[in-house]
Subunit: 495 residues, 2 copies
């Protein structure tokens, strides 16, 4: 993967200085147009052999570009707030909104590559991590990010010389990074690992570009022109979404689905309800005090038919929880900051810290439910969402988050009765809108979307629980019982 | 301040349960209307004697209110990210946007009160901190927050009984907080300190309300009704801003101002400029490596006439800085998330961590410059901004931030020449808009606003530096030199 990067270019200072003013103007113009159009974001990843001047390249970029629309990030040890959330949370925090650029040194490639170079991970681990990165970058690209990844290369002889020299100058002393990879002694190991990384993660929408950096003028012109060309090219493209092949339509043999198979006549008497409710609320309180609980956070997703009783169920769960330990998130229309980010960004920003609960009263599943049925996004977008959501929940689970998801199901008659009852109470918060009645008209389409959602996103670490909710007492107890059981199971695992 | 709170109320369970359903409906309706209207936010502060059930009150509130529009916060030890920023940053992070509510236990009163009770601060320190809180709450109120502060009271005999009892029940065990104040032994000290706190910080826009909490039914009804009444009352009010008394107009005796007194003919030759630039860039690099630098962060404010060369000056400063160590912030129109928050919120969110720089290419001074002159805010709003800005910068300074502020001044002829030159370059980023020419037409009004700004906000810890900027070389060197000197001065102080 380094063939071109072995060429030792020979650009002289005069020719460099002749070309820089125009290049700078072109770059600023491209950035200006991007900031105006706000139709995509630019993500630049810089990595390279030790001593290649990754920092010099960053400095160069910051000198030439408009830093008001550019942020540069490096990632060392995680802060406490970062360490308590999924691994990728720190990167999600820094993603550029559309119209802006972020440059990453020590990006999401940092930890996997270092682990591999130092022999802390197997080749299989490494590949697995890189595949996860591929999915992440694919998602970013689908969401409209322009991603360019640069590998800065030098020969071993040059590396030896440079590492020695860099320590000499007072003006560049701060640029000398520690050598986490061990300097030139590990040159081959670094090269081999980087090659493996590039082989697996160089994709059509997020390519690696390696370049020889021994001649700084070549490096500067090459980086500048590549970035400028890519932005300019992308600006000139129409914003067409790729087409999706018509998916196979599954035949309906006997009309049975996971929803029709539910026994919605299940119910609890009030006295039994009160007994059971207390039992599981007490149980939940005990679990929260378990010593292993502090190593986890809890994400609770509540989806369901309109008027299925999500709010009431959530209240029964929170009733005896420490109010400082949870947050109930609800999602209305995205804010304009959220609109400039990938779809999942507004959920990432509300992930709980360890020892905390986050309730989602409707969630990221909106994409494959209401947005699918109402046509608020393209078929391509909601189809790719299944995989993105599974990755998202896997990330959480890997970080110790217990992900518990409920679908509260009622039947059409019960919904009608509840809508009418709500209309009669007259309290504004229960106002039934025309939209509610309209959604009801698409009962079949919603049911189909729900069944697909359950099939595609019920995973070992984040399974769906279907809740028969015609009887509220029964539903609330089942929710609480499920929460207790799932937390219990996970806490035991840790022992 | 506790007279009413000494009354031992006697509400029975039956009468409580009779009133609760209606109260709950009223509260939810008020919350619903607030969420729709989005014209103010609600901030509830809970504090009280140990054992009064502050947590019970929070739980009660969360049970009764709609938790989708409510967040509950408590503050223990600062996280690493919080500790590296001004003391109030953690509270700014959690302020409710308009339309929402936040409940604070362990609010901004937590640390000052505990320090006073444990004798770690003098009475004068205590009063000083409380006065700062007063200014903070005044600002919140001016920005449209409804603030209610509740002090939960009980008699000493009851406290002794309760603290003992709370340890007994498994279900409430998590509610037993540590006793940072030392339990009943310090009852009088707590009472006296709280009284002092309430005396100083009970204001017409953020009153303390003390209540006896020995009868839980009384407590519940009292809190619920007070909160509901306050929201309802405020919803019914017109959104009129208070009037400001006509300020004294200062007579112009000889036409001299801090701006007219500048010698705009100051200049540097190119060769001298290059020498000086390198000198101070090197000096800055040395300062950044100073061992005390890690205890500071740097906030750099750049204001100036249009086309005065702010961007060019910033670039000369950042040129040899580690690109990962700084961020250049520019403020266009506020996002819709920002619009729902107090004016200064969008600047607070970009304050740098220790060891980092934040450049502000235009800043919070927009309030007293463009917003004043163009009438984008009321006179009352920009007049109160001077004090709020001074408090903001004092907060930064107290936290180790070095605040450096520049006004880049050019004269009218120079501006015209630069506008015309920019129009001729034809690069889009330099497009001169009609607005630029219009602003120029208000030269006199802007000058007056600048002079007021300098007078009101040049403080010992955050002084303004006026930069003669007709000659760009001179201006850039003065900026760099000033930065070096101010950092140097502050680093020396620490020794």
């Amino acid at each position: 993967m380094f063939e071109s990067a072995k060429i030792q270019h020979d650009i002289d200072k005069a020719s460099f200085e002749e070309q820089v003013p125009q290049l700078r103007t072109d770059l600023l113009d491209a950035q200006f147009d991007l900031a105006e159009a706000k139709n995509f974001s630019v993500i630049l990843v810089f990595a390279g052999m030790e001593g290649t001047g990754v920092i010099d390249a960053l400095t160069g970029a910051n000198t030439v570009l408009d830093t008001r629309h550019l942020n540069t990030y490096a990632f060392d040890a995680e802060t406490e707030e970062e360490a308590e959330r999924p691994r990728m949370w720190r990167f999600w925090r820094t993603l550029p909104p559309r119209g802006e650029m972020s440059i990453y040194a020590g990006s999401w490639y940092g930890a996997p590559l270092t682990d591999r170079i130092l022999g802390r991970s197997s080749n299989a681990d490494f590949e697995q991590e890189l595949q996860a990165i591929n999915r992440f970058e694919t998602m970013l690209a689908e969401e409209g990010a322009l991603i360019l990844k640069f590998w800065l290369h030098i020969s071993k002889a040059e590396q030896v010389k440079r590492l020695k020299k860099m320590k000499g100058s007072a003006r560049t002393r701060w640029r000398i990074e520690e050598s986490p990879w061990g300097g030139s002694d590990r040159y081959k190991k670094v090269k081999d690992s980087a090659e493996e990384m590039m082989r697996i993660t160089s994709t059509e929408h997020a390519p690696w570009i390696s370049l020889n950096t021994e001649n700084p003028y070549y490096r500067g012109l090459f980086l500048g022109k590549t970035i400028q060309n890519a932005i300019r090219e992308r600006l000139s493209q129409a914003d067409d979404k790729p087409l999706v092949t018509a998916p196979v339509e599954l035949p309906d043999i006997d009309g049975r689905t996971v929803l029709t198979d539910l026994d919605l006549s299940l119910q609890l008497e009030k006295s039994e309800y009160k007994k059971q409710l207390k039992k599981y609320q007490d149980r939940l309180n005990e679990l929260v005090q378990h010593k292993n609980f502090r190593k986890h956070s809890i994400v609770l997703v509540f989806e369901g038919n309109d008027a299925a009783g999500k709010g009431g169920a959530i209240r029964r769960v929170t009733e005896f929880l420490d109010p400082r330990s949870y947050r109930v998130n609800q999602y209305a229309a995205p804010t304009d900051e959220e609109k400039l980010q990938p779809y999942l960004w507004r959920f990432w920003r509300h992930l709980p810290r360890l020892d905390h609960f986050a309730f989602f009263d409707r969630s990221w599943y909106g994409r494959v439910l209401v947005e699918r049925v109402e046509g608020f996004c393209s078929e391509y977008d909601w189809r790719r969402a299944y995989g993105e959501i599974n990755d998202f929940e896997q990330e959480m689970s890997d970080a110790g988050t217990i992900v518990i998801k409920f679908w509260l199901a009622i039947d059409k008659d019960e919904q009608e009765a509840r809508f009418k009852a709500r209309e009669e109470t007259g309290y504004k918060r229960y106002k039934i809108t025309d939209e509610d009645w309209r959604n009801r008209g698409k009962w079949g389409e919603y049911s189909e979307a729900v069944c697909d959602m359950i099939d595609y996103t019920s995973t070992r670490n984040a399974p769906w629980t279907l809740v028969e909710a015609n009887n509220k007492y029964y539903a609330r107890v089942k929710v609480l019982k499920t929460i207790c059981e799932q937390i219990e199971k996970r806490l035991k695992k840790k022992k």
